[in-house]
């Protein structure tokens, strides 16, 4: 390596100072990970360069084919991991699909369209790599759509089978959706000029001394080849995975599919047979994530939505359920406080334009009988502590207003309200953004149920502590609980953490009863802040 090259490389790398400088000024914490990833990039690039160089240098047909096989297996693994499907069971099918789809199209282009000597590594490597990359990306889309459609619409498959359609005919609606998922983006992309990546490729071709017409023809073939390879790979993959997806009775081998069904028609009776099938076929499940992943529910018109955040009905104390736009409260006429307040916090609800500054605390006129008023809190030395925070209700004017109803308020120590409780509320919003949605229940705890301290003329009970339980159903479900004393002293979050079971025991409530019992038992038995 001559000195000039080293000098120029260093000069080139000086450009790194621009992003590094910006990070240094604004976010120093990220400098280290930036440096690490630059280092990794350099090493990977070097290895890749050497690998391709070696392939071209050695130029051995067997080596080239071995490289293609390795690429296919690696791509297949990526596909299954992204689609969250059972790798051990489906890897052969997907790899073969990608290999055959790519190899067939690649050889067609190399032999018939270009034509060049097939095992010339200078052609073989870039053509196959491009085709494989595209086929992989599209197989992810196609396979995921296919499996998802089968899961949600398994009934349609069974309906078609029951009406006498053969297996592949009954799969047609699902194959159609899979194909559309692959071809729709391709169709919209085909017509768009590729302004950044195409010049790079063309530049490479011209550097290699190609004439414009040859470069044009090559790019044309590659475009067409990519579309062909993706459809072919998907078709072969779906054909080969079929045996792993269906049992000999033509029943979809999945646990998740049935669970999804049970959840989505909760309230309508689900076939007694179906439930037991799921139990007996559990061992056949091809999903990596087992049945423990109830899907996040989004409210849809005319659909009964499972409200996972709702605790079970209380029998040992008065309760009036109040459904609000942003939360549900169980009001206790004896304590003049809510028993609990529960809400489903989605990512989209963590932001909004409706600010709390215009709001005033309001008596809840839905309560018949004694209820808390602003006067009760006046001069009480307690804050009007939100259970469902105003910050979770910025997404809607009415939701924001309703969060200021006294049925969502408890007497809360000012220090707790301002620091620990507020920190927890902020953390919950972070979680909702990270996981898409979480379910939260919180409320007061009274350690002795007699002679409780009260405030105001309406005798609003002052809680001894507050609990909050959080459930995340994204990925492997998990839950965590917190208890904070209603005191103005420092309470580290790590010490406030406890399991949902502990809070259930303390409060006599049953949280998240809509969960499958096994899952409920598991998530409520343990709690670890580090898992979140």
């Amino acid at each position: 390596m001559d000195k000039g090259l080293i000098l120029h490389t260093i000069l080139g790398l000086l450009l790194l100072l621009i992003p590094a400088g910006a990070l240094y000024l604004l976010e120093r914490k990220m400098l280290q990970s930036f440096a690490v990833s630059v280092g990794r990039m350099v090493v990977q690039l070097l290895v890749l360069c050497l690998m391709v160089w070696a392939l071209i240098r050695v130029n051995n047909p067997w080596l080239l084919m071995a490289w293609l096989v390795a690429m296919a297996v690696y791509s297949g693994w990526l596909v299954l991991r992204r689609c969250k499907l059972n790798i051990a069971k489906l890897l052969p099918a997907v790899s073969v699909g990608l290999f055959v789809g790519t190899a067939f199209t690649g050889f067609w282009i190399l032999v018939l369209a270009l034509p060049v000597w097939v095992f010339d590594a200078r052609w073989f490597v870039p053509v196959m790599a491009l085709l494989m990359g595209h086929a992989m990306a599209m197989t992810i889309r196609g396979l995921n759509t296919y499996v998802t459609a089968l899961k949600t619409d398994e009934q349609q498959y069974e309906f078609l089978r029951g009406n006498g359609q053969p297996h592949f005919k009954a799969l047609q609606p699902f194959l159609r959706r899979s194909l559309l998922a692959v071809l729709s983006p391709t169709i919209s992309n085909l017509s768009v000029l590729c302004l950044t990546s195409m010049p790079l490729l063309l530049g490479g071709l011209f550097l290699g001394g190609m004439s414009p017409i040859n470069a044009f023809v090559l790019m044309l073939h590659m475009n067409v080849g990519c579309v062909a390879a993706s459809v072919l790979s998907l078709a072969i993959t779906l054909f080969l995975t079929d045996k792993s997806l269906f049992d000999k009775f033509g029943k979809l081998m999945t646990v998740l599919a049935l669970v999804t069904l049970v959840l989505s028609c909760k309230g309508n009776k689900v076939g007694e047979g179906v439930g037991s099938v799921s139990a007996s076929q559990e061992s056949n499940g091809f999903y990596q994530s087992k049945a423990e992943t109830p899907k996040p529910e989004t409210p849809a018109a005319g659909k009964k939505v499972v409200m996972y955040e709702m605790p079970a009905a209380l029998k040992d104390r008065p309760e009036q359920i109040l459904k609000r736009k942003g939360y549900t409260a169980s009001y206790n006429g004896q304590t003049r406080n809510p028993n609990w307040v529960a809400w489903h916090l989605t990512k989209s609800h963590t932001n909004g334009s409706f600010q709390r500054k215009n709001e005033v605390f309001t008596e809840d006129t839905d309560i018949k009988g004694v209820r808390a008023t602003d006067n009760d809190y006046y001069n009480s030395r307690y804050d009007r502590g939100h259970m469902c925070p105003a910050g979770d209700n910025k997404w809607d004017k009415q939701a924001m207003e309703q969060s200021f109803l006294f049925t969502n308020i408890c007497p809360q120590n000012h220090g707790l309200n301002k620091y620990e409780w507020n920190d927890l509320e902020i953390l919950c919003r972070d979680w909702a953004r990270e996981y898409g949605a979480i379910d939260i229940v919180c409320g007061p705890i009274y350690y002795q149920n007699t002679d409780q301290k009260t405030i105001g003329r309406n005798k609003v009970w002052v809680p001894d502590a507050f609990f909050k339980v959080v459930l995340c159903r994204q990925g492997k479900p998990k839950a965590i609980g917190f208890i904070y004393k209603n005191l103005g002293k420092k309470q580290p979050m790590e010490e406030a953490v406890c399991t949902v079971d502990e809070i259930e025991q303390l409060t006599g409530m049953d949280f998240f009863p809509a969960l499958d019992d096994n899952i409920e038992d598991r998530v409520e038995a343990s709690a670890s802040l580090s898992e979140w």
Binding site: G162, T186, C194, F249, C265, G271, V277, S280, A300, A301
Partner: protein, 199 residues
């Protein structure tokens, strides 16, 4: 004609009903009833060859129905499944997804991010269920067997009457009509009732 002889049905290891014997005749409306979990759906699925009989026989027009022969027999059947309200995409196929063109070119080796795609599909309304059922029956006018699993489970009173009317018409046309149901209106209209609770 559908015959069941000394059949034991169940799922996996679990036995739901033993010693079942009955014949569902052409031109008759046969209703299978029984409490929740008594095996109505399992029986229907067995009669269609989706599940094997543990013991005994099921035959269609005198010919033995097995898992292997079932696909052929199913071409003689019209099936209205229990979860018919979930067949929204059968009635209205989903549209092709709309895509914004990306800068990524036709070949995009970038790995696509998959958002949670399990979309909530609203169930069919009672009117839509009845129209899907009548369309299915109309297309299968020449099939001699009609099997309906809880056809009135998601229907209003009025629509239940319409559904019942549809099924009666099928029987009047000389078909074998087999229904699993717990609804009194349907049981009352059946020519033969098989109660899985009283075996």
């Amino acid at each position: 004609m559908l015959e069941v002889k000394d059949a034991t049905i169940g799922i996996g290891e679990k036995v739901l009903a033993q010693g079942l014997c009955f014949t569902a005749r052409d031109g008759q409306l046969t209703c299978i009833t029984g409490s929740e979990g008594s095996g109505k759906t399992t029986l229907i699925r067995t009669l269609m060859g989706f599940l094997p009989v543990k013991e005994g026989f099921v035959s269609v027009d005198g010919e033995l129905l097995t898992i292997r022969s079932a696909p052929v027999f199913r071409t003689l059947m019209t099936y209205l499944p229990q979860q018919i309200q979930m067949l929204r995409h059968q009635l209205m196929p989903p549209e092709a997804p709309t895509c914004e063109p990306e800068e990524q070119t036709v070949w995009s080796p970038a790995i696509p991010l998959l958002q949670e795609q399990i979309g909530e599909v609203p169930p069919l309304s009672p009117e839509e269920i009845v129209s899907l059922a009548s369309e299915t029956l109309r297309q299968a006018a020449d099939k001699p067997i009609v099997i309906a699993d809880e056809p009135a489970a998601h229907l209003t009173f009025e629509m239940t009457q319409r559904m019942l009317e549809l099924l009666r018409q099928q029987a009047a046309a000389g078909k074998t009509v087999l229904i699993a149901s717990r609804k009194a209106e349907i049981i009352a209209n059946a020519d033969q009732v098989i109660d899985l609770d009283r075996l």
